[in-house]
């Protein structure tokens, strides 16, 4: 037992609102306004985790996002969250948390035993061992992985949801401390659209912890509430609490995470409100008032439970009404920590203040402390903390006043808590996410940002190294006034004043010496979470990991979930000492987002589940669903795959659909094909350039199949284009290629041939396309259409006609992707469903059969028609596809890709070329993607000749068919090859890829 409740007038907890909560199964009590950490301390809980490498017992060290140790698992089941910092979890009634470390238990930890061998586990020890025997590494790794890691990943789906909110503001103020509030006030008064975000559950920042602070002659907290009242009264100002700005990007885009409901009991959470909200804020100007964080000093066993920063203890006392201990040692090298000593003493703790400075703080502060009952020891330092799972005392040393060495041994003091203050570290992260660099300020002993900030960013308050409130406010006032000038606005308000107080210089000290060579004494931790001790940094440097990035990576310094908020500066300082360089020269490591961890769900926002990516449907969707279609994803489109009847397998369904179509009539939804209206005097010329084949002689009323190549000569898209008028064409593209092709046309037109008078308008969504396919398709259409002469001679294959189908204006294309007599009826998509149903009705007497993509694939494969993306893979030219007929080599203009077709590699005779395959066993349907060998020798590395691109059972032919690409295939018809998949070989004969109706009689019927 150590921590306990005391009453403080400044406390922000609500003593009238007790909260029951559970920690590792133990029922405990806290109050509304507590954090889990403050409540745990109040309940005397000390041991809260085991360290990651040595399994050393650990307790709470900080009071906010800087906390390295108190990583807990919050709640269970769907609501569980791993690795939350107890110092940031707001307490609510019924909260249930567990520790994340310690195996088998927190109090008896095996790693703890391993820890006794810690001297043999220096940084990078795993790089130096576990190397043999080679087979053993997986075993070692298993152990290492088990040992590492904190919380447990959730396994249940997330019951809550998240969203994004975009802001466009004049000024974003990051940080709601005194300086941030003043910046927002001035911006707000100037009429600027202002947004202030603060990490905590209420604004005020350090003012919430510092009871003695005064602004404009009144208690700081009173001034804070006045500011908040004013800001709330301004319609142009928004204040968001529980909102952490965690990343800064180009042109002042700031991402901030708001914890909307995390502070509420699970039962009290509103299912209509997001758990967390990601704010994406575009600001003309950003004011960084993100403040600073106190860092501890580095000394022996400074990780024992009960060791804390002075600021944390002061905060727990004044803000939460929790005294961290009855007998407290506080070591400092600066004046500020005297406040903590004073407050703790006033609250009844026995405080010994160990000031590493021989002369101590400014007189008034020493006097204030003494009169509060604080015992002062000047010129001393703590060499080593005593106690294992809880602090029991410490051994002091007398310090040399000038050099950081030990002058003499010091007394042993008993204590239940040890605090230290190593000065403040400015929170410069956001300034540095996007090119900014902090600089070392010797005065403030911190990496700080320049007063003037940089383009679009002002820096206000202690982020600039102004530790004293008065100086911080003055700097803020100046910086914000300058910003307002930039907006052409004036400053409305006098700079708030806080009394200037005399200060004694701080002692330049990071690692408190213990009189022994580094590494010989007790471990002195720099980074608690990653178990990095001062000696480890020295070792890294000794092994020539001298770049600060190397030091960081070799020791893992600052790699934890606290992002080194407590440890980095101490680490850099100790590295500098080891390197014999000034800190400024050593510099910092790179600051990366996120400032504090961000929930994946919040990043994803509403782009999950059914809105992860659009599902695009055609107008006939409900008709397909009604007929039991299964769907295939093609691009973003949902296309009917096949229409099983009863218990049919896909194979059975597809056989039925194929036969019905070849023998009578089938119907398919072709609406997903891309459609582009191409019009202008130069439309023809443009088509000539963009397609590989010729378009000069295509008359109105006619259609033509076109191949599109990229400049590299490879097939990128294909489709049928109809000539509507001499200067007007209706282009179709593949389903997946629609958007790509439209941009392709636009880019070539705008960048290369702006002189061509032609325009492209997407009509993909306007037209619904119903393909009526099969010998009976004419008969079906005749029942629906009277104003088009459908007779074979009047309406030929590859013609199109305008008319009325089932009373609806339609464009009918007589084109075929199946080799059958076929018509594609294009109507205004609002009529799409109607036309589909009309066709079904009209076809009933012929047993009309709806079919999906699978049957479409079989029918077109029987004809040897390619599918771009399936039979091609970006490495196939038209020649490779035996489609030389679609290449107009004589066209005057060198169409896209033409030149590439004559390069040495593209004219090679032994390129992979499209062929057909007949397996010797007609029942064998080859795997699409099976590889082809010339001989039956498949010993690796085997000589692969090509692969199967399309393969089906053809019910119409009563055997299997396959399309493949084969080296030199065009010359190999009749050869026998061996098709290989998963160790099985199937002999097959190379044949023409046109399996059905080579003469094309059927489609011309």
């Amino acid at each position: 037992m150590s921590g306990y409740r005391v009453h403080r007038n400044s406390q922000r907890i609500n003593a009238q609102a007790p909260c029951q909560f559970r920690f590792d199964g133990k029922q405990l009590k806290g109050f509304a306004g507590d954090t889990l950490a403050s409540a745990l301390i109040a309940n005397g809980t000390r041991l809260i985790g085991r360290s990651f490498k040595y399994g050393r017992p650990r307790g709470i060290v900080g009071h906010g996002s800087e906390e390295p140790n108190a990583l807990i698992q919050l709640e269970t089941g769907g609501y569980t969250v791993p690795d939350l910092k107890a110092t940031q979890v707001e307490l609510y009634d019924g909260l249930n948390a567990t520790t994340t470390t310690g195996f088998p238990s927190l109090h008896f930890d095996l790693k703890g035993l391993a820890g006794t061998f810690s001297r043999f586990m220096p940084p990078g020890f795993y790089y130096k061992t576990f190397m043999g025997p080679i087979k053993a590494w997986p075993l070692y790794e298993k152990i290492i992985r088990k040992a590492a890691g904190y919380g447990r990943a959730p396994v249940d789906p997330d019951p809550e949801f998240y969203d994004h909110l975009h802001h466009h503001v004049d000024v974003l103020v990051v940080g709601g401390g005194a300086c941030g509030l003043w910046a927002a006030t001035l911006a707000g008064r100037a009429g600027l659209k202002t947004l202030l975000v603060d990490e905590q559950n209420e604004a005020g920042g350090w003012m919430l912890s510092d009871t003695s602070a005064q602004i404009d002659g009144k208690p700081a907290l009173k001034w804070v509430s006045e500011r908040l009242a004013e800001l709330n009264s301004l319609s142009n100002v928004t204040v968001l609490t529980r909102t952490t700005a965690f990343a800064h990007h180009e042109q002042n885009l700031v991402q901030a995470l708001e914890l909307v409901q995390d502070h509420l009991p699970l039962a009290a959470r509103d299912s209509h409100t997001p758990r967390e909200r990601l704010h994406k804020i575009r600001a003309h100007h950003v004011v960084l008032a993100s403040g600073s964080i106190e860092r501890p000093l580095v000394y022996g066993n400074n990780d024992r439970p009960g060791v804390m920063t002075a600021a944390a203890a002061q905060t727990y006392l004044n803000r939460y009404g929790v005294a961290v201990g009855r007998k407290v040692l506080l070591m400092t090298h600066n004046d500020a920590a005297y406040d903590a000593a004073r407050d703790l003493a006033q609250a009844g703790s026995r405080v010994t203040l160990i000031d590493t400075r021989l002369r101590g703080a400014a007189d008034w502060r020493q006097h204030e402390a003494k009169s509060a009952g604080v015992a002062l020891m000047l010129g001393y330092g703590i060499a080593e903390v005593h106690g294992k799972t809880s602090v029991s005392g410490a051994r002091l040393v007398q310090l040399d006043p000038f050099t950081n060495t030990v002058r003499a041994r010091g007394p042993r003091l008993s204590a239940d808590s040890v605090l230290s203050s190593g000065g403040l570290t400015s929170t410069v992260h956001l300034f540095c996410h996007n090119n900014g660099r902090p600089y070392w300020n010797e005065n403030s002993q911190s990496f700080v940002v320049p007063d003037e900030g940089r383009q679009g960013i002002s820096c206000a308050g202690s982020i600039t190294g102004r530790w004293e409130l008065s100086a911080a406010l003055a700097q803020t006032h100046a910086a914000v006034s300058a910003m307002l000038l930039g907006f052409g606005r004036s400053t409305n308000g006098e700079c708030p004043v806080s009394d200037e107080r005399e200060l004694a210089p701080t002692r330049r000290l990071f690692r408190v010496p213990d009189g022994l060579p580094e590494g010989h004494g007790a471990k002195a931790f720099v980074d608690y979470q990653n178990d990095v001790a001062a000696a480890d940094i020295h070792l890294a440097v000794r092994e020539n990991y001298r770049s600060i990035e190397h030091v960081k990576r070799y020791t893992a310094l600052g790699f934890g979930t606290d992002q080194g908020k407590l440890s980095n500066v101490n680490g850099f300082a100790i590295a500098a000492e080891a390197l014999g360089k000034p800190i400024a020269e050593v510099g910092t490591t790179t600051y990366r987002p996120a400032y504090t961890p961000v929930t994946f769900g919040a990043l994803a926002g509403s782009h999950v589940g059914d809105t992860f990516d659009p599902r695009r449907y055609t107008a006939m969707q409900s008709a397909h669903v009604k007929r039991g279609a299964l769907f295939e994803t093609v691009g973003q489109w949902m296309r009917p795959w096949y229409f099983p009847k009863g218990k049919e397998t896909m194979h059975q369904a597809v056989d039925r659909e194929c036969l019905a179509t070849r023998n009578s009539v089938g119907v398919m939804d072709a609406s997903t094909l891309g459609k582009i209206d191409v019009k202008g005097p130069d439309a023809r010329e443009f088509l000539n350039r963009i397609y590989s084949n010729a378009w000069s002689k295509l008359d109105p009323g006619k259609c033509r199949y076109g191949l599109m190549l990229d400049e590299n000569g490879m097939v990128m898209d294909d489709g049928v284009t109809a000539c509507l008028a001499d200067d007007h064409f209706h282009m179709t593209t593949t389903t997946g290629g629609a958007a790509r092709v439209l941009n392709w046309l636009e880019r070539w037109h705008q960048t290369e041939w702006p002189e061509l008078k032609v325009r492209f308008t997407s009509t993909t969504d306007h037209w619904s396309t119903t393909a009526v396919v099969g010998p009976k398709s004419r008969a079906v259409l005749q029942k629906l259409c009277s104003d088009i002469d459908l007779s074979a001679d009047a309406f030929k294959f590859m013609d199109w006609r305008e008319g009325t189908v089932a009373g609806v204006p339609a464009k009918v294309f007589r084109i075929s992707f199946s080799g059958e007599l076929a018509y594609e009826i294009n109507v205004d998509a609002c009529y799409g469903h109607y036309i589909w149903e009309q066709v079904m009705q009209a076809g009933e007497e012929f047993g009309i059969t709806p079919y999906g993509t699978e049957t479409m694939h079989v029918l077109r494969a029987e004809k040897g028609f390619i599918i771009v993306g399936q039979d091609t893979d970006g490495s196939m030219t038209p020649i490779d596809l035996a489609m030389g007929w679609a290449v107009g080599m004589k066209k005057p203009f060198s169409f896209l890709g033409k030149r590439s077709l004559s390069r040495s590699d593209t004219v090679r005779k032994d390129r992979k070329q499209l062929v057909g395959l007949y397996t010797e066993d007609p029942k064998v349907v080859l795997a699409e993607g099976a590889q082809i060998l010339s001989t039956s020798d498949d010993a690796p590395p085997a000589n692969m000749q090509g692969h199967v691109t399309s393969s089906y059972h053809s019910a119409f032919l009563g055997r299997s068919i396959a399309m493949a690409v084969l080296k030199g295939g065009s010359q190999r018809e009749g050869d026998t090859v061996y098709v290989w998949a998963h160790g099985k070989k199937y002999p097959a004969k190379v044949v023409s890829s046109v399996f059905v109706d080579q003469e094309g009689v059927r489609q011309h019927a």
Binding site: E250, N712, E746, R747, T751, R903
Partner: protein, 98 residues
Amino acid sequence: MFQIHCPHCGATREEEEFSYAGEAYIARPANPEEASDAEWGDYLFMRKNTRGWFWEQWQHTAGCRKVIAVKRHTGSYEIAGSWTLAEGKEHYLKESEA
């Protein structure tokens, strides 16, 4: 994430409205048939890939669908300006002369 000014819409819009369209002002050989394989290969594949100020194309796909010229620093990501392809070309040519 960038904000890019579209000279056609006369407005500054977020990157999500645009799609990147690569290096600007790559000239297609006037007579491809006369270009050597090397010349053709250069046009097809070789790129400046400048570290520094760079002329590139963005297409305002969610807006006016126009391709525009943007001068951007590929190191600092600073954007000097954006122009219609025609306007941009003048600036571009002036710079390449200089």
